[in-house]
């Protein structure tokens, strides 16, 4: 007998056993497939029926149990009565497998024949729920429950019990839950349950409530979700999960608390911050906010921001709306003008804050008034602008560059200086501008600057301009540091000193020229300071005194003077300062100088004082008079020779003249004598004429004698004589009475003593000379007068004055009256007065001429009285 047949034929208990045994493979398979089929709720629901059906189907062929899930699908199978039991069993099993597989495939491909839409969805939901269920089972805070509503008891509630803190064995049902719930949440739960159980609804159960855990009395938040399944209008089952969301809620609570704290924080924040609800009503505002934007109020809570500030720009309102959608906005540099016309610069941020349920509760605005800052920034920028302008526009060239040498910035003046534009300069290096010859020296300085050896330096060197011209510049270079470690820059302040250099050069050249002139001068030029220290001496000075410059400069000028003068020199200087009167300032003066070899020589010194840069110096111009002295001596000699020659000539002339004179005299005498012896004397007039002729000859002789006496260097024949007697004699001879018309002679010989030691002939010559001069001076004047007077001068001398009232002496003439070979007379030999001077001086007297009181001329001479002469 086959298995099937056996089953057929077997007794009912045996058939059952066989059926069960035949179902075993199905059970095993089902168990094996279950994990994969978990989310298919319909399967879950129908499982027991399926199982039953499968058994039945196995036992009673022809009974089909179909399901949309992955089931064993048993199709009606033809009775296999004809086959053996074994065959029939095998066939049964194979059929089951195939059908099940086929059903699975069908299910998976969404073709669910015979299934209603709603059911499918429900099944779907069930499937999903069962998946979740499975997942949450893994979590400790999540418990799934399966509530049989009819029975009012849930299955698989270990986890629920754990969460709720139920005693093991406690029945889990809504009542149990309600018992643990906090009183104030009970209504909420009940309402949720009612809503869920309502067959007209969607059966969704959502509730969040607090419980007090029976196990430890702790307050816990529970969140429950469930899905109610209905059958024939009745809720039959709810599957759901519940979670212990205490931590979440605590967080939320904390968040809500922290929101309160935020409020406090907002109110107390040192910044301007305010919290608004969704309608922009103030919930909180910080002190700073209230002060700035509060418009004088103490509190803004409850006020509408837009009402408070009617002038809020629309763009900001748009931003608020965006924030309410969850956007974050900020602006670091916004600008608005309030109703009072006050300008504000604002840095603000606007962001949403979340409420307890995770929605956007409103807007938080934080605003930082940066007007002051802005103004400061503006001021800074302005000052930077000014500085920048100053930098750019400065009259002095500024150039900044990296420490490495590349130029970063240059101002206009620098550009003008160098001829390059700012842009060109920025691509250049400092060193590119410097003249090749100056580069080396400049590099040395720059190195030291970079190394930090020197904080800065000032140097003068040459730049080569863009156009190739070379200019001199004076450069101040320094190193500056950026903020913190922000790098180092070299800053140069540059001035064009070409002009100064040129004038320095000119000055130097001028100095060189002056030095050349000084050194080329033939006179010595020596300058000294107020202490007498030699400041400079020229080449002529070196030659004249025999020193080298270095031996003299810096030492006292005394070294150039003979002893006596040297000692007196300091006195002279002191005296000059004291009295302001310089003995030799400006005036040339003959002094003596001392050469290096000690020899003393005559010098002519002219001294000039000068103020040079506020210092007083004396400049002396020294002429060596040795030559001049020699020259003068020579001239004197020549003059003397000339005079000697004249004397000789005069002597020779006199000698020659004497001969005929003598002869003439003798002839005349003879003639006279002859006549006197003649018997008759009819020729008395002849006699008279002859006598007079004889007188004239004698007079001529006297003149010649005197002339010879004038120029002869022979000794004077001094004897005791009466000056008055001589005066009378000479006066009678020169100005004979009755012989000169219109000329009056007055003799006032008042000296008490007139005995002098004199050469009668010579002094007679002097008197003749003076009287003749007086006579000639008055020649052209009408009614003229000549006077001769004598008187004692009280010093053992007798003074004789010969005066006339002629035109007088011209100043220029007076100087040289007694010089030989000068004459005011057209026919004068010019020796008269000079010889008179020699004669008088040889007699130890003085002779001089001056203008008389009331016009005219007075010549005076003095002679020592014989009584005043002392014997040795």
């Amino acid at each position: 007998m086959s298995a099937l047949g056996a089953i057929h034929d077997a007794r009912w208990p045996l058939k059952i056993a066989l059926g069960i045994a035949a179902s075993l493979p199905g059970i095993v398979l089902r168990l094996a497939l279950e994990p994969r089929l978990f989310d298919h709720l319909p399967y879950q629901a129908y499982y027991p029926g399926v199982l039953v059906a499968s058994i039945l189907g196995g036992l009673l062929p022809g009974v089909a149990a179909a399901s949309a899930s992955t089931l064993w699908v048993h199709l009606w199978s033809p009775p296999l009565t004809d086959f053996s039991s074994g065959v029939r069993l095998a066939f049964f099993l194979g059929n089951s497998l195939a059908i099940s597989g086929f059903a699975e495939a069908m299910h998976r491909t969404l073709w669910r024949p015979g299934e209603a839409e709603g059911r499918r969805e429900e099944a779907e939901r069930l499937l999903i729920a069962s998946e979740k269920f499975r997942l949450t089972q893994a979590s400790e805070t999540i418990a799934a429950f399966d509530l049989d509503i009819e029975k009012n008891a849930a299955k698989d509630v270990d986890a629920v019990r754990r969460i709720f803190g139920f005693e093991p064995g406690t029945v889990v049902n809504p009542q149990a839950i309600l018992r643990t719930a906090l009183p104030e949440d009970v209504p909420k739960i009940k309402a949720a349950l009612e809503a869920a159980f309502d067959a007209a609804g969607d059966g969704v159960y959502i509730a969040e409530y607090r419980i007090r855990r029976p196990s430890d009395g702790a307050e816990r938040w529970i969140a429950a979700r469930g899905q109610v399944f209905f059958e024939a209008g009745r809720a039959i089952r709810m599957i759901g999960i519940c979670r212990d969301v205490t931590d979440e809620r605590t967080a939320e609570h904390a968040l809500r608390k922290s929101q309160a704290q935020v409020r406090i924080f907002v109110e107390r924040a040192p910044i301007s911050i305010a919290m608004f609800d969704r309608d922009m009503v103030y919930l909180a505002a910080s002190r700073a906010w209230i002060e700035t934007y509060g418009r004088g109020r103490d509190s803004l809570v409850g006020l509408n921001h837009y009402k408070l500030h009617s002038d809020i720009p629309d763009r900001w309102k748009a931003i608020h709306r965006g924030v309410l959608k969850g956007e974050f906005h900020s602006d670091v540099n916004d600008h608005w003008i309030d109703a009072d016309g006050q300008e504000h610069w604002v840095r603000w941020a606007a962001y949403p804050w979340s409420d307890e349920v995770g929605g956007i509760g409103g807007v938080v605005l934080s605003a930082e008034e940066i007007s002051a800052q802005k103004r400061a920034e503006v001021a800074l920028r302005e000052s930077e602008e000014k500085f920048r302008n100053a930098f750019v526009e400065a009259a002095v060239g500024f150039v900044m560059g990296e420490a490495g040498g590349a130029i970063l910035e240059a101002n206009k003046a620098f550009c003008r200086l160098t001829g390059y534009s700012a842009d060109e300069l920025k691509s250049m290096r400092f060193v590119d501008l410097i003249h090749p010859d100056d580069k080396a020296g400049n590099n040395v300085l720059d190195e030291r600057l970079r190394a930090g050896d020197i904080p800065g330096y000032i140097a003068e060197n040459r730049y080569v301009r863009k156009d190739g011209a070379i200019i001199w510049v004076r450069k101040s270079a320094s190193l500056t540091h950026g903020a913190g470690d922000g790098g180092r820059w070299i800053v140069n302040l540059v001035e064009d000193v070409t002009e100064r250099k040129r004038s320095e050069e000119t000055a130097a050249r001028t100095v060189a020229q002056l030095s050349a002139i000084l050194d080329g001068a033939t006179d010595a030029v020596i300058s000294i300071d107020v202490a007498g220290i030699v400041q400079s001496i020229n080449a002529a000075g070196e030659r004249m005194f025999g020193y080298e410059r270095g031996e003299v400069v810096g030492r006292n000028v005394r070294m150039l003077m003979p002893e006596g003068d040297a000692r007196r020199h300091d006195e002279y200087i002191a005296n000059y300062f004291r009295t302001g009167v310089g003995k030799i300032i400006g005036v040339g003066r003959e002094m003596e100088g001392r050469r290096k070899d000690g020899s003393v020589f005559p010098i002519d010194l002219a001294l000039v004082e000068a103020v040079v840069y506020d210092e007083l110096i004396f400049i002396g111009f020294v002429r060596d008079l040795s030559e001049r002295r020699n020259f003068e001596i020579r001239m004197d000699q020549l003059a003397a020779q000339r005079l000697t020659a004249i004397g000789g000539m005069a002597g020779a002339l006199a000698h020659e003249l004497n001969q005929p004179l003598a002869a003439a005299g003798v002839y005349l005498a003879t003639a006279r004598r002859m006549l006197s012896r003649a018997p008759d004397k009819p020729l008395a007039p002849v006699e008279d004429a002859l006598e007079r002729a004889g007188d004239q000859v004698a007079r001529m002789g006297d003149m010649i004698r005197r002339l010879r006496g004038f120029v002869a260097h022979g000794e004077a024949d001094k004897t005791h004589q009466s000056l008055h007697a001589l005066i009378r004699e000479i006066a009678a001879a020169e100005l004979p009475e009755g012989r000169t018309e219109g000329l009056a002679l007055t003799l006032s010989l008042n000296a008490e003593d007139d005995e002098v030691l004199m050469d009668r002939v010579q002094i007679g010559q002097v008197l003749s000379n003076l009287l003749r001069n007086a006579k000639e001076a008055t020649a052209d004047s009408p009614g003229s007068h000549v006077g001769v007077s004598t008187e004692l001068n009280g010093e053992g001398m007798i003074r004789c004055e010969v005066s006339d009232d002629g035109p007088g002496l011209a100043d220029a003439v007076r100087e040289s009256l007694f010089e030989p070979l000068t004459s005011t007379k057209a026919t004068g030999m010019g020796v008269g007065l000079s010889i008179s001077k020699s004669i008088i001086e040889a007699h130890y007297g003085r002779i001089w001429g001056e203008s008389g009181h009331g016009g005219g001329t007075v010549f005076s001479f003095t002679l020592p009285l014989a009584s005043a002469e002392s014997e040795e």
Binding site: N658, Q659, A663, G665, V666, T670, E869
Partner: protein
């Protein structure tokens, strides 16, 4: 007459020679003129007395040389020297050489005739020219020591400077002494002074 005293006039200047001759002839004297000293010496007769009037500066033998010659020959011929240029040394030398007088041209004719007459009178006794010795000595005694010394030097013909240097005194002092000597001795001129004391010295 053999005693006729002749005046010999020697001068190289024709006019002067002629004028003197004319003058002396008019005074009744015999005159012979010579153009030079040599001419005179050549024409000289020993026994003739008279006197000589001679110039000093002449070509050939000068007047001073003639004097020396006459003195050397021991001729008793008084000589009057006329000169265009007279100074003390010349006067002293002339006196020492035996001249009895020295006249400076242009001289007064009266001076000349007086000197000639004196010379002719002296003749052999030319040496007796001058002041008597006693008088000279007496006058000398009135001088101080210094003045005496100065006198001696003056007579020697020393110029003042030399006298001063040798006596160790200043020239001015010499002048003072000299003036005093002249005053005290009443000498009219240096030549007179010389004449005065030269004879005294000689004697």
């Amino acid at each position: 007459m053999s005693d006729h005293q002749i005046v010999h006039v020697i001068d190289d200047d024709d006019a002067l020679r002629d004028s003197v001759r004319l003058f002396l002839v008019n005074e009744g004297l015999g005159v012979r003129t010579y153009g030079s000293a040599n001419e005179f010496l050549a024409a000289l007769d020993a026994p003739h007395a008279g006197c000589v009037v001679t110039d000093v500066r002449m070509p050939g033998m000068s007047g001073m040389e003639l004097l020396a010659h006459i003195a050397a020959k021991g001729l008793s011929l008084p000589v009057i020297v006329i000169t265009g240029h007279a100074d003390v040394p010349l006067a002293v030398r002339a006196m020492k050489q035996g001249a009895i007088d020295l006249l400076e041209k242009p001289f007064k004719a009266e001076e000349l005739i007086a000197a000639v007459r004196r010379g002719l009178a002296l003749g052999k006794d030319s040496h007796l020219n001058g002041t008597p010795v006693e008088v000279a000595l007496a006058r000398r005694a009135m001088l101080s020591v210094r003045e005496n010394e100065v006198l001696d030097r003056l007579i020697k013909g020393q110029p003042n400077k030399i006298i001063a240097y040798e006596m160790g005194i200043s020239p001015r002092t010499v002048e003072v002494h000299r003036a005093n000597v002249m005053k005290k001795t009443q000498a009219g001129s240096l030549s007179e002074l010389v004449r005065m004391f030269l004879n005294a010295d000689r004697n």
